[in-house]
């Protein structure tokens, strides 16, 4: 079977690409579109370094075919900051030193944002179980969990202030 032509939306922009039917969405993002922010740590859905959302759902892009991605809304790490304004999670990861080598960081950020969209006030246990699909070998997770919980607290405070 030859290459397929796909039209989809990535980080709000319409994107068209051609890919082979056996190519993963991760390969398409990295090798065809030059979006190397999503990382390949395993290629088998075990490490979460390639996390993206499709129509708001958190997935490993190494387990999705590029050919399946047509007509969806895909969000990657490259779309997380608003221009030069970092997402509160990105800022919090920096302030908490929640990264050492940084290879797992894009995946953790996408996964953590997905958590806070569903559960703006997670317990430590909820954070730990939600992020259990993302492997980090440097930090021991301590500062990552703190960064996520502090972001939730800050966003809640801001939310209250905005509502008042």
């Amino acid at each position: 079977m030859g290459a397929v032509h796909i039209s989809t939306t990535i980080n709000g922009d319409t994107v068209e690409y051609i890919c082979r039917p056996d190519e993963s969405l991760l390969d398409v993002l990295r090798d065809r579109l030059g979006m190397t922010g999503s990382k390949e740590g395993c290629g088998t859905g075990d490490c979460g370094a390639c996390s993206v959302t499709i129509d708001g759902r958190l997935v490993c892009s190494c387990l999705v075919l590029g050919a399946e991605a047509g007509g969806h809304e895909i969000e990657t790490i490259e779309g997380m900051a608003d221009g030069d304004k970092l997402h509160p999670l990105q800022q919090s990861f920096l302030e908490h030193a929640a990264l050492q080598c940084g290879i797992c960081t894009p995946g953790f950020l996408i996964a953590a944002r997905s958590l806070l969209e569903r559960n703006p006030d997670p317990t430590e246990t909820e954070v730990r179980y939600w992020l259990a699909g993302n492997l980090c070998r440097c930090t021991g997770y301590d500062k990552i969990v703190r960064a996520v919980m502090d972001t939730a607290k800050d966003m809640k405070k801001k939310g209250r202030r905005n509502a008042a």
């Binding site: 370094a49 050492q100 080598c101 290879i103 730990r128 980090c136 070998r137 301590d142 703190r146």
Partner: protein, 773 residues
């Protein structure tokens, strides 16, 4: 001593050092902009792939590459014939990156292709026909030491020593209690011995003796970024390489030697590195990519799959050990003895020598002996893994110390305090310690709230201490003053854990300027003199030392420029708070000149201003740590939960405390993985059974609690600010600490790692059976 050598006066107060600013590479890493090994492209780039042996041990009779070469889209196929031995090259490394007459382990590279895309490359690998003659194999360290074991290398010979009869009894044959005489081909590649005093006499003086045999399984560093490199050799023989490595100067020199290139013809740039922990201190795919590029005449990128990372990079050793410690009733150790046997994979070089040196380093011992055996097996050639060799040795030693404390009814920290190494202690491996902080870590651990928590049923507490030497090494650093007074700092040590932030802090501290005014880059091999690998916990120590001295060089030059402007002797100018100032009233009355003003005037006062420093750094200070952990064992399933974990470690001086804590926490959790889950599992066929993150399970977020930390600061006199390396010591105590906690919770001594649930259940059942008898 030269007359101009001033004693090192370590400051007691700091302005910038010790603060916690955001790291300079941070924004790039949270936005996906940072470029790691696999993120680079080159025009006309080919995809490289490696064919690997499915056999643990096999003679390579013939390799037919003709069909692969004929496949459209294939631009180069190489075997060991394309990588002939070069004069002075390391044959073990060359043979490891591409098998020659034999495949020595499951995953050993036997051929490689470069093709227009990954699909063609994959297809080409399937078209390469290798005729193997399968040979008997051995993957277990004790099995490999037996006189009748399958031999990996005919040229390695060993004469058996009687000390082996004292251990597990694995070496002797089934019947005889004697060992073969004389040198004979063997898998024992080396024997090391350390110690002093008379252990026989020491054990005779003991009131209590504890003795156990221990085993640990091989584990992998488990960095999340697989090895990746992009090599480009041009037709005139100049070559460039982009690679994720802990040492790009090492990559350059080793690759140049393996391929017969002049070092100057190869320029290597270190990408951002997605974790290394020692596993990226050697070469695997880099020389292969260069050889493919040379043959194809195009850039070639190789990215390992996770399976390749597990099968064919450099996990650490598995170990078989015996430890014996004797003590007086008051807890004083009278003698200590250990035999350590480490397999290091298919080539000599297991970290047993360092394991032997570290084993008893925490203790002040009159009578001590450690013997270490380096053994080759049909497994991938081991590479360094964070404090190589020390965690396994500490596991065995600290288990015995823990049991002594139980037998003597002494507190686990008190018995360690009683015997702790301190300044003036003659270490078990030779040198006499200078100022070290083990006692301080023990005291801080004892005072911590975690040590006072009351435990519930099925819960246990474990304590363990650990030691790592730390290294200095070759370092070359340049600090360039920009025209606006900001600075560019070029270091040659890849940043594996936030070191650029620490370098900025030290340069800013020394110059009395703002952290944000210094930008640190990891320069390529064409831009600086040789720098050793980022290993041995040496970066903040030696690159930091070089940075401080480069800043001092810079200050000297800034003072010269101010002296020139003011028309006074340069001795009459001093540098303070980021300004050149007249040194005292006699020097004259001049307005201080800021670094920005001096930078603006640089072209008129002699041109660019830069500070340099080159050194083979000596004076690295050892770092000791004490860990305290509480676990709960589920007697129904054998599963374990870590309830709380405390790391107390001596950092000398914490330059950026966030990243010091990060090293403590990361090392502790890697250690937790090693003791609870992680292991290389080989089948009877010699093939690795679990080469993936699903079956080789590293700790995930929900497996661990917060990791509490206490930073102890006993300054290292060998560093201008007192820094000790911290990266490695943190993985030394966890195996022992967790195993001691599990043992306490089960009421049975854990002597084999990992303590996975089936092993815990078996131990508990065994205990119940014994109780019933």
């Amino acid at each position: 001593m030269p007359l101009d050598t001033k004693p090192n006066v370590i400051p007691t107060t700091f302005k910038t050092v010790g603060t916690r600013p955001v790291r300079p590479d941070g924004v790039d890493k949270v936005t996906g902009r940072a470029r790691f090994g696999a993120d680079m492209q080159a025009p006309g780039m080919l995809v490289g792939r490696v064919l690997r042996s499915p056999h643990a041990h096999a003679r390579i009779v013939k390799i037919d590459t003709s069909k692969a070469e004929a496949l459209p889209g294939v631009k180069a196929v190489i075997t060991s014939k394309d990588m002939p031995a070069q004069e002075g090259c390391d044959m073990d490394v060359l043979t490891n990156v591409m098998a020659r007459d034999k495949a020595l382990y499951d995953g050993h590279a036997v051929a490689a292709v470069a093709a227009v895309d990954a699909a063609v490359a994959r297809k080409a690998l399937k078209l390469i026909k290798v005729d193997y003659k399968v040979l008997p194999h051995v993957t277990d360290v004790d099995e490999a030491m037996k006189p009748d074991a399958p031999i990996l290398h005919a040229h390695i010979e060993h004469e058996y020593q009687q000390d082996l009869l004292e251990t597990a009894g694995h070496v002797k044959g089934k019947k005889e209690r004697t060992l073969p005489k004389g040198k004979r081909p063997s898998n024992i590649a080396g024997r090391y011995e350390f110690g002093h005093g008379d252990i026989k006499k020491g054990f005779a003086e003991a009131d209590v003796i504890v003795e156990h045999e221990f085993t640990t399984e091989a584990t992998h560093q488990g960095y999340i970024e697989p090895h990746a490199c992009l090599a480009s050799v041009s037709s005139d023989g100049w070559a460039e390489m982009w690679v994720c490595t802990q040492g790009h100067f090492m990559v350059r020199d080793v690759c140049a030697k393996l391929l017969g290139l002049d070092v100057s013809r190869l320029r290597v740039t270190a990408s951002e590195i997605g974790g290394g922990f020692g596993g990226k201190t050697t070469v695997f795919i880099e020389p292969v990519a260069l050889a493919l590029s040379r043959k194809a005449g195009k850039p070639v990128k190789i990215v390992m799959s996770r399976e390749e990372v597990f099968r064919a990079t450099g996990p650490t050793s598995s170990a078989s050990m015996k430890v014996k410690i004797g003590a007086k009733r008051d807890g004083t150790f009278t003698a200590a003895d250990a035999i350590l046997k480490f397999q290091g994979g298919a080539f000599p070089g297991s970290p047993v020598e360092m394991g032997a040196m570290c084993a008893f380093a925490c203790y002040d011992l009159r009578n001590v002996r450690i013997i270490g055996y380096d053994v080759v097996t049909n497994r991938p050639k081991q590479a360094a893994y964070r404090a190589p060799g020390a965690p396994m040795a500490a596991f065995a030693v600290e288990a015995c110390v823990g049991e002594l404390s139980e037998k003597l009814k002494m507190d686990a920290i008190d018995i360690r305090l009683k015997n702790a190494a301190k300044e003036g202690t003659v270490s078990s491996y030779g040198p006499t310690f200078g100022p070290v902080g083990l006692v301080e870590t023990l005291q801080a651990a004892k005072a911590h709230k975690n040590y006072k928590v009351k435990l519930g049923p099925n819960q246990g507490r474990g304590v363990a201490s650990g030691f790592w030497f730390n290294f200095g090494g070759q370092t070359c650093t340049t600090l360039n003053l920009n025209s606006d007074g900001t600075l560019g700092l070029a270091v040659g040590t890849p940043d594996i854990g936030g070191s650029r932030a620490s370098m900025c802090l030290m340069a800013a501290e020394e110059l009395g300027i703002a952290y944000d005014d210094v930008r640190t880059i990891v320069a390529d091999t064409g831009s600086l003199g040789y720098n050793d690998i980022s290993e041995g916990s040496r970066v903040t120590f030696s690159s930091g030392l070089a940075t401080i001295n480069a800043a001092r060089d810079c200050k000297k030059k800034l003072c010269q420029r101010a002296a020139m402007i003011w028309g006074i002797p340069e001795e009459a100018v001093e540098w303070k708070d980021g300004h050149a100032r007249p040194a005292g009233a006699n020097a004259g009355n001049f307005e201080p000149l800021s670094i920005k003003e001096l930078a603006a005037k640089a072209s008129g006062t002699g041109g660019p201003i830069a500070g340099h420093f080159e050194v083979n750094a000596d004076g690295a200070g050892p770092s000791f740590a004490t860990h305290v952990v509480d676990v709960e064992v589920d007697p129904e399933t054998g599963a374990m939960k870590v309830l709380r974990y405390l790391v107390v470690q001596d950092a000398g001086k914490a330059i950026h405390p966030d990243y010091v804590e990060g090293q403590f926490q990361g090392g502790a959790v890697q250690g937790i993985g090693w003791v609870l889950n992680e292991e290389y599992i080989y089948g009877a066929d010699g093939r690795l059974q679990n080469p993936g993150f699903l079956d080789y399970r590293i700790p995930v977020c929900s497996d661990v609690p917060m990791i509490d930390t206490v930073i102890v600061e006993v300054p290292n006199p060998g560093h201008p600010y007192g820094v000790r390396g911290v990266g490695e010591t943190s993985i030394v105590p966890p195996l022992a600490a967790v195993a001691n906690a599990v043992s306490a919770a089960m009421g049975v001594r854990a002597t084999t790692l990992p303590m996975s649930p089936p092993k815990v259940l078996a131990a508990l059942e065994n205990k119940m059976r014994k109780a019933a008898d």
